[in-house]
């Protein structure tokens, strides 16, 4: 028994399937004896079954009826077959229309893919049981797998399924021979569409289910008009951009990213979704040593692209290390960590960031202007996820305007660019493609990926990037800590809330906090200092 608490009222609607209603009217037009598709009888060994139509007839009819090109008619015909309104009589597993003499037949309205009738697993189980009876126990491999899994999780209904399968089988036998053949073909075609065997492309993928039917006409109540009024009022108030500007931006984006879009240009070596060959993903992993040329080209498009690609970020970090300005990137990464991290660690992280980057005399002090610093420090009194947003944006713009340009001209980048590889395109023959499909394996579990990432981060923390106070004493205004102790405050202090080493504490004598407990009071203290300076 399915759970009926959700009052269904036929409200499972699939918005991307709004075309189904339109296809139904096409189907009805095709039935017209005068202007519809011409049908012919199909001759089997003993029986003759009427109402078979050829692929070329369908395509020709569509071309005439809608005054479209033959290619478009062919695509439309394939859509009709893929949705299950017409099914092929030969080669039933390939849901395409062949514009030659191959035969098709119309599907009965019960088996049409209607928007609000979801395909039930109970029905599929009954169908498989019936097929089991007919084939005397020999099912296709994928059917066997499905049968076993359904038997496992629908076990409580299994008696019903067996009973119903037997009854439906017997009821089916009551009809005459040709009708029985047709019925079997219909049912099989229905399930090829909705439970596609391996190797069949399914057209039934759709998005989330909605509670409202997008095809119904909405009743014009006062609520409806109120919503329209609110919508138009808000549209008037919205700030507008000149269309030349926005279209120009779109055009620029399209031109820039044209060759990088796998839908528009072939991705090298080959698109894994098409050829089942995963070389592309291996070449573009996050920690790969030598990136591909396309990837490196994308880094030059904008600074955001560079930072969002982990390999690009590594490269940039290396460059900054050579330039001894790694603290900007480290701060930016710390802010990202705060934004995306768990709520439990947020407080600690915020304080670590403050200690490491923002306070005066911090080991990795970043250069942000006074106003932003004030705002940030004030926000840190009650830290939340986005408390460092202003500072992060400032640092981002700083890096973008300054370091990014220099990075693109630097030897680090030029070296990476030179070493970047450009793989050749794969040319797979059909048997090779089938072999690829058979060799498909699941990729590394995300748990393992996360573990590797954490190990990587820990390793980076222990190796530790350079602390500015060690190398550029002039940058550190107030305190000149001895080099050995400064090195203790490396990345590890913000990446993991570790205990500070006892020897390192005296550095912060100036900041007036002697232990972690007084960390909370520091923002207040610096505010007092600011105030004192004003008087």
């Amino acid at each position: 028994m399915t759970i009926r608490n959700v009052r269904d009222h036929g409200q499972r609607f699939r918005p991307r399937m709004a075309c189904l209603k339109k296809v139904e009217s096409v189907m009805l037009e095709m039935q017209d004896p005068k202007t519809g598709v011409k049908s012919q009888p199909q001759r089997l060994v003993i029986t003759t079954i009427p109402h078979a139509i050829t692929g070329e007839d369908i395509v020709a009819w569509l071309t005439n009826c809608y005054s479209i090109e033959a290619e478009e008619a062919w695509a439309l015909g394939t859509m009709l077959v893929a949705f299950g309104y017409i099914y092929p009589l030969q080669d039933h597993k390939r849901l395409v229309i062949k514009p030659d003499a191959s035969l098709y037949r119309f599907q009965t309205p019960y088996f049409w893919p209607a928007q609000q009738w979801p395909v039930e697993d109970t029905d599929y189980a009954i169908y498989l049981a019936k097929r089991n009876i007919r084939k005397k126990g020999i099912l296709a491999l994928y059917e066997q797998v499905q049968y076993n899994s359904l038997h496992k999780w629908m076990n409580y209904k299994w008696d019903f399924i067996v009973m119903q399968a037997k009854e439906q089988y017997r009821a089916g036998k009551e009809r005459k021979k040709p009708d029985r053949v047709v019925f079997d073909c219909q049912e099989r075609a229905y399930w090829v569409v909705h439970r596609p065997p391996p190797g069949t492309v399914s057209a039934m993928d759709y998005g989330l289910e909605r509670m409202v039917d997008p095809n119904t006409e909405e009743k014009q109540t006062s609520d409806f008009f109120r919503r329209i009024m609110i919508f138009t009022q808000q549209s008037i108030m919205r700030p507008r951009v000149k269309s030349s500007v926005s279209i120009g931006a779109l055009v620029k984006y399209s031109v820039t990213y044209n060759k990088h879009d796998p839908f528009l240009a072939p991705c090298l070596p080959s698109n894994p979704w098409v050829t089942d060959d995963v070389t592309y993903w291996f070449l573009n992993m996050a920690n790969v040593g030598i990136p591909t040329k396309m990837r490196v080209e994308r880094w030059t498009f904008s600074f955001g692209e560079l930072l969002s690609d982990p390999r690009g970020r590594d490269d940039f970090r290396l460059f900054l290390k050579k330039e001894f300005s790694g603290e900007n990137l480290a701060f930016w990464e710390a802010c990202e960590d705060l934004k995306w991290g768990t709520a439990a660690t947020m407080n600690d992280k915020a304080q670590q960031v403050y200690k490491t980057f923002l306070t005066r005399g911090a080991p990795r002090w970043i250069n942000i202007d006074g106003k932003t610093m004030e705002v940030t420090v004030k926000g840190l009194k009650h830290p939340h996820r986005y408390v460092l947003d202003a500072a992060q944006t400032h640092i981002f713009m700083l890096m973008k305007k300054d370091s990014f340009g220099r990075y693109l001209k630097s030897p680090v980048f030029k070296d990476t660019q030179k070493r970047a590889i450009c793989p050749d395109q794969h040319m797979f023959s059909v048997p090779q493609l089938e072999a690829n499909a058979r060799k498909r394996r699941p990729s590394i579990s995300p748990i393992i990926v996360r573990q590797l990432e954490q190990e990587e981060r820990a390793r980076m923390a222990t190796s530790g990037p350079v602390d500015i106070t060690q190398y550029s004493p002039a940058l550190c205004q107030n305190v000149l800590p001895p080099p050995g102790q400064a090195a203790a405050f490396s990345l590890s202090t913000w990446s993991s809330p570790a205990k500070p080493r006892p020897g390192a504490l005296p550095i912060f004598s100036r900041s007036r906090w002697t232990s972690l407990q007084s960390v909370v009071s520091t923002p207040v203290d610096s505010e007092d200092e600011v105030e004192r300076r004003r008087h």
Partner: protein, 246 residues
């Protein structure tokens, strides 16, 4: 155990009617649609509802009894799950028949029924559902529109019944264990009832798959008998020719 046996027979009947109803609804809107089909649907539906009500009463009576043993209770719950699953199928089929019936009215001048290739009648299926030898047709000519209103009312009724059942009877369907194991349908599939002319036909639609055997055991035997008969006639003819010729 008179209660369970009675229940089982009633459930079997309901199951049979549900299966036949589904076959009839599948034929709706296609070229085997007709006045008769609509009437068959109506009759089958009414029978199904009667059976459903009878089943429900019997099962609720059995389940409400608190003095049943654990095994009995488990058995009654299993029967309850059978009943509710049947009712769900029936409800969905009724709703779909309403939708398709509305889309394909019979009495319009330009009638476009889908040419599915099915041209035979569904009389035998309906006869099986109603457990009669021959179906009698006595409905008015506007059954396709008049019936739809009744159908809507009946759907509402069935929906209400199922909601009531869910509220009143406390049965955990997932706790029921099925008695049949996987592949149980392969046992005892000797068909009863009239199969069609028992000729083995090779379905051309499955060129790579196994040959589609349309007939069952009865058909096999009839075919062999036919061949033997033909062979005997041929031999007799040859002998006769020799006798006359010689």
């Amino acid at each position: 155990m008179g209660g369970t046996d009675e229940c089982k027979t009633m459930l079997d009947a309901l199951n049979k009617v549900t299966a036949c109803y589904r076959h009839l609804v599948i034929a709706l809107g296609s070229t085997s649609d007709s006045q008769n089909l609509r009437e068959e649907l109506k009759k089958t539906r009414k029978k199904a509802q009667e059976l459903a009500v009878a089943n429900r009463n019997k099962l609720t009576e059995l389940l409400k009894d608190k003095t049943t043993s654990k095994d009995d209770r488990a058995e009654y719950e299993r029967l309850w799950v059978l009943f509710t699953s049947s009712m769900e199928l029936l409800e969905v089929d009724m709703k779909r028949s309403l939708e398709i019936g509305q889309e394909f009215p019979l009495k319009v001048p330009t009638r476009h029924l889908i040419q599915t290739g099915m041209t035979g009648s569904t009389t035998t299926v309906a006869a099986r559902a109603m457990s009669v030898q021959n179906m009698k047709y006595d409905a008015d000519s506007n059954i396709d529109t008049a019936d739809l209103k009744e159908l809507q009312a009946e759907i509402a009724q069935v929906g209400q019944m199922m909601e009531e059942m869910e509220m009143k009877v406390q049965v955990a369907p997932w706790a029921v264990e099925a008695k049949q194991e996987a592949g149980a349908e392969l046992k005892s599939t000797l068909s009863v009832g009239n199969s069609s002319v028992g000729v083995i036909s090779i379905c051309e639609e499955e060129p790579k798959d196994e040959i589609d055997e349309g007939g069952d055991n009865n058909g096999m035997i009839t075919c062999i008998a036919g061949f033997i008969f033909v062979a005997i006639v041929v031999i007799a003819g040859i002998l006769g020719y020799f006798v006359i010729g010689g």
